[in-house]
Symmetry: D2
Subunit: 479 residues, 4 copies
C-alpha cells in the first residue's frame, strides 16, 4: 500500500493528456487547478497508514490474503458494506469535500459480480481476467476512476439511433488482441489523478446496442485518451496567492473531467464486457445502488464540516445562543444523520451475490441518494441563513491584504471579541464554496439523477405485492 506522497509520485510518473481553460497542461500534477483534488485523494492513502484507522481504512484481500486498502477491496460481508460507509464518513470529515476514490471501488465490485455471471451464462473468461487485473490493483494500491456517464446527445433517442453514433462510448473495431473504443464519458470524478479508468456502460442494452456494451480498463495515459478538466465554480481562485478565497485547500467536488476516447485500443486482458448488453443493466443497477448508498457516508462527513463551520460562524456572529439558531443547527444534524442512518440501513440488509460479494438493499440505497438530492439543498440553505449576506458579498482576500484598506476591512468585518476576522472570513469562504453550484449539482446528479432513483424505487417497491397485502388486511377480493 502507498502513502499519500507515494501516490502523488506514482501519478507524476504518468503523462496523461489533460486540457484545462483552453490549454494543454504540460505538468498536470503540478498545476494549481489539479493539486487540490490530488491532495484530497492522497488523504485516502495517508489515513490507511494510520493504525487507529486500520480497521476502517484497510481490509484483508480475499484474493491474496494481503492487507489492502479498503478502496480496492471487494465487499465480502455486511460488515464490509457498513465499514465502507463509515470509512466514507471518516474521510469526508477529514477532507470536507469529495475524495473521489469510491467510484472505482464500486466499479470493481460491479465488474466482479457481473463478469462472473456473464462467464457462467456465456462461457466467456472475463471474470478470470478481471480477477487478475484486480489483484494488480490491490497490490499496487492503484486509484481507479469509474467512467460510466456518456454525453448522451438527444436523450429521447437510444444510443444506436443518435444522429451521431458516438454519443455513447462504443466498440468501433474488434481485433484478435483487443478492441478499439470511441466516444466520450463526462462528469468523471477524480479522473485526472487516477491511475486507471474503468469504462462501463451507462444503461442496459438490447442486441441492437451491443457495440455500446463495453467494460474495460484504460490507463490514464493511454494513447488516444484526452481529459478535459471541467470548469468549476470559482475555479480561478485556486490560482490565487494562498488560495484563501477557496476556503479549503482540498478543492470543492471531485475534479470532474470529460474523457475523449479517440479510437483507443484496449488489449484483451483489460476487456471485461464486449457486447453482452443483456448484462449491462445489472452492472449499472449494482454499481449505482452501491454508489448511491455511499452518499449517505461521504456527504454526511462533508456536512459535518459544514455544520461545524456554520456553528462556529454563528458563535463569531454572536447568535448561537438564540433558540431559533440552535434549532436550525439541529435541523442540519437531523438531515445529515438521516442520510447516514439510511446508508447504514441499506448496508445492514445486504445480500450475497452469486460471485460472492455483497449487495446493498437496492430499494433502500436509492432512498439514500434521493434524500441527498433534496437534503443537501436544505443544508446549504440553512448554512446560508445562519452565515448571512456576507457569504455573497465579502471582499476578496487581496483587499484584506491591501495596505490602504486592509486594516479598515479587518476592523469592520470583526465579529465577537476573541475571534480573528481572518477566521470568520475563512469560514465564510468554506461555506460559500461547499454550497456552490458545483457542489450542489454533484449532490443532485452524482451517482444518478433523482429520476433515475425513482425508476429503481418503483420497480423495487413491488406494488402488486403491496396491493395483495392491502386486500388481505382490508378484507376485499380474493387475495
Amino acid at each position: 500500500m502507498m502513502n499519500g506522497k507515494q501516490y502523488i509520485d506514482s501519478l507524476k510518473a504518468r503523462k496523461p493528456r489533460v486540457y484545462y481553460l483552453g490549454e494543454r497542461l504540460r505538468d498536470p500534477y503540478s498545476h494549481p487547478a489539479i493539486i487540490p483534488h490530488m491532495r484530497t485523494a492522497a488523504v485516502t492513502y495517508d489515513l490507511a497508514m494510520e493504525d487507529r484507522h486500520a480497521e476502517i481504512m484497510t481490509a484483508t484481500s480475499h484474493l491474496t490474503g494481503e492487507k489492502v486498502s479498503r478502496f480496492t477491496h471487494l465487499f465480502w460481508s455486511v460488515d464490509d458494506l457498513i465499514k465502507k460507509i463509515e470509512m466514507l464518513r471518516l474521510i469526508g470529515r477529514e477532507t470536507g469535500t469529495c475524495f473521489q476514490r469510491c467510484v472505482g471501488l464500486d466499479g470493481i465490485n460491479a465488474i466482479w459480480s457481473v463478469t462472473y455471471e456473464i462467464d457462467r451464462a456465456k462461457g466467456t473468461e472475463y471474470h478470470a481476467k478481471f480477477r487478475k487485473y484486480l489483484e494488480r490493483l490491490q497490490k499496487e494500491d492503484l486509484m481507479s476512476a469509474g467512467a460510466m456517464t456518456d454525453v448522451k446527445g438527444d436523450r429521447s433517442l437510444p444510443p444506436w439511433q443518435q444522429p451521431d453514433p458516438d454519443m455513447y462510448v462504443r466498440i468501433v473495431e474488434r481485433r484478435p488482441d483487443g478492441i478499439v473504443i470511441r466516444g466520450a464519458k463526462t462528469h468523471i470524478t477524480g479522473a485526472v489523478n487516477s491511475h486507471e479508468i474503468l469504462v462501463m456502460p451507462t444503461l442496459g442494452l438490447p442486441p441492437e446496442g451491443a457495440d455500446y456494451a463495453v467494460v474495460c480498463a484504460v490507463p490514464i495515459d493511454a494513447p488516444g485518451l484526452t481529459l478535459v478538466f471541467g470548469r468549476q465554480t470559482n475555479d480561478e481562485r485556486k490560482e490565487e496567492e494562498g488560495m484563501f478565497d477557496c476556503g479549503t485547500s482540498f478543492g470543492v467536488v471531485g475534479g470532474e473531467s470529460t474523457l475523449l476516447f479517440e479510437d483507443v485500443f484496449v488489449p484483451s486482458e483489460r476487456v471485461f464486457m464486449a457486447g453482452e448488453g443483456e448484462f449491462a443493466g445489472s452492472l449499472v443497477d449494482r454499481f449505482s445502488s452501491w454508489h448511491r448508498a455511499n452518499y449517505g457516508g461521504c456527504k454526511a462527513g462533508n456536512a459535518d464540516i459544514l455544520l461545524g463551520a456554520t456553528a462556529l460562524l454563528t458563535e463569531i456572529h454572536g447568535t448561537i445562543k438564540n433558540s431559533i439558531v440552535k434549532d436550525k443547527l439541529t435541523e442540519i444534524v437531523h438531515l445529515v444523520e438521516t442520510i447516514y442512518a439510511s446508508a447504514v440501513g441499506s448496508s445492514a440488509l445486504g445480500t450475497k451475490l452469486p460471485a460472492g460479494n455483497w449487495m446493498v438493499d437496492p430499494l433502500l440505497a436509492n432512498t439514500v441518494k434521493q434524500n441527498v438530492t433534496r437534503f443537501l439543498y436544505q443544508v446549504g440553505r440553512l448554512a446560508h441563513d445562519l452565515g448571512g449576506g456576507i457569504l455573497s458579498t465579502l471582499p476578496s482576500d487581496a483587499d484584506f491584504r491591501n495596505g490602504e484598506i486592509g486594516g479598515l476591512l479587518t476592523k469592520y468585518f470583526a465579529g465577537k471579541e476573541g475571534f480573528p476576522t481572518e477566521e470568520k472570513r475563512k469560514l465564510c469562504r468554506y461555506i460559500e464554496n461547499m454550497t456552490s453550484v458545483a457542489t450542489l449539482v454533484e449532490a443532485l446528479h452524482g451517482a444518478g439523477s433523482p429520476q433515475a432513483q425513482r425508476i429503481v424505487m418503483l420497480r423495487q417497491a413491488n406494488l402488486p405485492e403491496k396491493t395483495r397485502m392491502a386486500k388481505k388486511v382490508i378484507g376485499i377480493g380474493k387475495e
Copy 2:
C-alpha cells in the same frame, strides 16, 4: 407462549375498571370499541405460532433458555435490534395499524438496563426483582403496556411546582411492603387489553422531584386503577353493523387510554425505582430511543398497506397509468423506505449497555421518529391526492344498503369495469381512517413529540467536536 385466542381468553379472566363514552364497560373485552384493538394485539400472538415467522417473531430467552415471544425478549445483540424492526414491519403489514405491544417491549429493556445501574450505584435490589418479574412475563407470554406520559398540567412548571402535585404520577406513601401511587398517565397505547401496566417516569428528576421517580408494574385490574378509553376519530362507526365504514376490523391507532391511579398500592416485588430520580433521565432516553426507532418499522408496515390500498384505488379510478400518478406512488415508497432504512441503520450501529442488552444509536433513532412526524403527513396527503374527494364525501354504508337508493349509489360510484363498487368504497374507508387525526397525531406525538427528538439530536450531535473538525479541515485556529 399463547396464541391469539388464548390471549383473548386470558384477558377475559381479568376485570379491569374501564370507562368509555360516559359509561363503565361491564365486559370490556366484548365491547365493539375494544374488540378491534384486542383483535390486533392478538395477531402478535398468532404470528408467533407460525413456523415461517419463527425467526422474526420469537427468540430464545437469555434468562431461561426457553423460546419466547420476541415481544418479551431483551435485545441481546444488533441482530435482535434489527429483527425487532423487521418484526414490526411484518405485523404492520399484517394488521395495517398499530398493534400496541412494542411499548412494553421497550419498557422491559429500559427497566432491565437501568435497574442494573441503580443497583450497582446504590446497592438496591431492583434488578433481581425485575429479572424475576420478567421471567414470569416471558413464561406467561403477557402483554405489558408502557405508561410513561403524565398529564403534565402547566408545562412551564416542573412536577413538584404544579399547583396540583398530582399532575405527574407520584409516590404518596412508602410502606414496608410497597408503595402507594397517585396520578394519571395518558395516551397509554393498548392499556385496556394488556395484562400489565409498566409505570415509568416521563422525565429526568432532581432530588426535589424524587417522589415522581417511580417505576413499577401494576396488573390491569389492580384496585384503584381506572382506565378511560379515549375517543378516536370515527369511533362510533365501530358500533355500526359490519363496521364497513371503519375500513379495517383492526382499529385505527392503538386504543389509547387515560389511566387514573387513585392511591394504588404496589407491593415491593413490583417496584423497580422509588426515588432514584438521577436515573430517570437515562430510563426515558433509552426507552424513547428504542421506541423512536420502532416507528421506522411499524409505520412502514402500515404505510405499505396504505400504499397498496392507494395503488389499487388508482387502478379502479383508471388513473394508475398516468406518469404523475406513478410518481406520487413512488414518492410514498421513497418516504416509507427512508424511515425503514434509518430504523435499521440505527439498529445496526447499536452498542452494548452495562446490563448486557443493546442500545440503538440514539442520534440516528431520533432522526427516524423526526422523519415519521413529517413523512406520514406527506404520505397521507399523497393518498388523499390520489384517492380523490370521495374520501371526504362518500355516503355511508347504510345508504348503500338502503333498498331505495342503494342500487343507484352502487351504479354511480362504480369505477373501472371489473371492480365491485364495494371494494372501491372499502379502500376509501381504509384510507380515510388510516390518515385521520387520530392516526396522524399518533405518528406525530407517539414516542415523543418532534421537539423532544430535536433536544436529543442537538445533545448527541456534539457540535464542539464538529467545530473542532471543521477548524482542522479549514485550517484555522489551534484545533
Copy 3:
C-alpha cells in the same frame, strides 16, 4: 334580502328528498346532521344585515340597481373581486368553517359570461334567460349550489366512452319545453340547504360529447332529484348531547351531498347550455379560476380561527413563551397570509370579460389553490404539533360528565391555572375536527384537484414566450 332566520324558514317550505345514514330524512332541516351546515350558511345572511359589514357583504345590483347580497352579485370590477376575497375571509372567521355559498356565486358569474358568448356566437337566447333567472335569485336572495363534479367512473375514458353512459350528467331527452337530464353529481357543497342547484359540466366537450354539455338550474325539491348526504369524519358526534365533541356548532366542511338525477325535467327558461360543448371548457376554466382564488379567502379565515385556538391552547399548556412554539405559530401565520395575499393579487390583476363581469388572473388564481392543497396540511400538522397527543386520545365529553370519573378527569386534564378544563377540551375538539380528513381532503380536492391546477398553470405560463425572453437576455439564437 333575507336574514338568517328567514333563510331557514324559506328552506323549511321546501321538501327535498334527502337520505343520510341509510334513511330518508323526513324533515332534513330539523335533523342534527344538517342543522350545523344550515346554521353556517345562515351566517352569510345575518352578516349582510349588519351595517358595519354592508360594504363587504352587500353590493348594488347592476341588473336592478337594488342592494343585494354580494353572494348573488356579479363581479363588475377589480374591487368586486377583492371584496369577495375579503368577504370570504370575514365569514371564514365568523364561522370557522366552510359556509358553502361561494360556489353558487362563482357559478352565476361563469354562466353569465359564457351564455353571453354562446348567444353571440350561435344566436341562442341563453343569456337573456339567465339574466331573468339571476334577477330572481338576487331579489329573493336565494342560495344556489354549484353542481359540477360528475362521478366519472373510469377516468381513463371520456364520458361518451364509459361502459355506463350515465357516469357524467347528460341530456337524455330534448323536449319543446325543456330537457330531461340523468346522472349524478358528487361532492356538492351546501346542496341540501340551498334553494337552487346550478348544474354545470365538469370538462370541455367535443361534438361527440354534446349531450354532456348541459347547464341548467334545478330547484332543490325538483321531482326526480335525490340528495344523499355524505358521511363525514366524526359525523355521529353531531347527534350527541350538546355536540361538545364536535368542537364547533357550525359543522366541519360544507355538508357535501351526492345528487342523483333520475330523469329530471328542466323547463327551457332554466336551461343555459344544451349541447354547446365548445363552450364548456371556458365555463369550467372561469368557474374554477374564480373558485380557486376563493380558497385564499375562506381558508385563511378558517385558519385564523385554527391559529387563535392553537395559540390559546399553548397558553393553557404553558408553552406559548417558548421561542420554538412562537416560531411555529408564526409559520402558520406565514402560510395563511401567503394564500390570502395571492388571492388578493389574482383579483387585483383581473380583466374584463366580454359579458362585462371581471375575471381573476387565472394563472395566479391557480397558484392560490395549489398552495392551499399543500399549506393546509402543514397548518394542520403545526396545530397538531402544538396541540399535543391529547388531540388523538382525549376522553369523550360524556366521560367528563360522568358522575364517577368526571371529577377526576377534570382534575387531570387541567392546564395552566385560571383556565377551565372545559375550555381546553373544547379547543382540542375544534382543532381535531378542523384538521380531520374531511377538512383536509376538501382543501385538497375542492375547486379541483392539485393536478387540475397544474394543467392550467402550464398552459397559462406560456413557456415559448419565456424561452424567447431567455434567448434575448442570454443572447442566443434569433429571438
Copy 4:
C-alpha cells in the same frame, strides 16, 4: 430623464474611490467587473425611454408635475404600488438579474414619510429639506443606493455596547453646518454605479443609541467614502474574453459593495435624521416592507428567464416531452407566480401614510420575502435537476475555442439536432451563474434575513385578536 448612455456618461464624470481584488480601480466605470452591473442599471434608464413601457416605467411627479422615472417617484396610490411590482418584473425579464435601482426608490419613500412625521412631532425641518433633495433626484434622474445594513460586529450586543463603537454607522461630530459620520455599511447593492448613497439606520434605537440614528444622502465620490466591491461567485470570469462563461452580460446579483465612511462630512441640507432614534424603527419597517414585496416582482422576472432557459435546455436535451419534466417546469411556474401574486396582493391592500404616500400591507409583504427565501432554492434545485450534471462539469469556453480539442468538445456536447452546442453551453452557464451562492444568498438575505420577516409577521398577526375570534366561534370564555 436620462437614457442608458447618458446615465453611464454621468457616472464617468464622478470619481469615487473604489477597490476590488486588492487594487484601487483607477477607472471603475471601464472595469470589466463593474461594467455588467452598470450595464444592467442602464436598462432601467433605456426602458423608460420606450413608449410602450411609459405607463409602467414612468410617472408624473406630484412634486413638480413633470414626467419622471418611476424609480424616483413616490408611491401616491395603490396603483403606483402595483405598477412598481409590474415594473420590477418587466426589468427582471429584460435583464435576467438584479438591476439594483429599487433600493433607492424604497429609500426615498421611507425617508419621505418618516421625515414628515419627525417634523410634525419635533418641529424639525427634515421633510422640506428632503423634498428639495428629492426634486433634484427626480429632475436629474439620479440613481440612489440605499445603504442600510451595518456590519454589526457581535450581534448579541446593541450598537452602543459593541467593544468597537463604529460597528454601526454613527454621528461622531455635530457641526453647525452638518454632521460627520463614521462606520461601514455592507452588502450595498448597486453602490458603485449610483450617483447618491442614502444612508439609513438598520434598526430602531432607544435614546442611548441616538448617535446611530442617522439618515443622510452622500454623493458617491464624497471625500472620506471608500467602496470595496465585493467578491462574487465566478467573478473572475467577467475578465475573460467574451465573458462566455458568465452566461449573462448583465452580471449576477447587484454588484454589492462595502462602504467605508471615514469621518465623512455631510452638510445640513443632506441630513434627514440626526438622533431621532424613536423614528428609526418606523423607517426600517416601512423601507423593508416595501422592499420585501419587491422581491415578488424582480425575482419573478429573473425566474422567468431561468425558466425559459431551463425549458429550452430540456428541449435540447430531448427530455421536454416527458410528463415528469413538464411537471417540474410547472412547479417552477407555480413557485414564481406565488411570489408575484403575493407581491401584487400586498400592494393592492396598501394604505395611505400621513405624509401622503402609500404603504404596502406589511404582513403580506413579509410573506412575499419569506417565500422568496425558500422558493428560489427550490427553483434553483429544479433548474439543476432538469439541467443535468453538465452544470457542474462543463469545460471552459476556452477549451471549446482550443484548436486541438474544441471540435471534439463541440461534437460531444451536442444535444438534439438543430441546436448549436454553443447555445446549450450558454444556457448552462446562465443557469449555473443565476443559481450560484451569490444569487441564492441575495434572495435569502436581501431586504432582510428570514428571521427578520418572522418577527414582523408575528407582531403583525395580532394573535390576541385571533384568539378572541376563536373563542367566539368555538363558544368559550367571555370574548
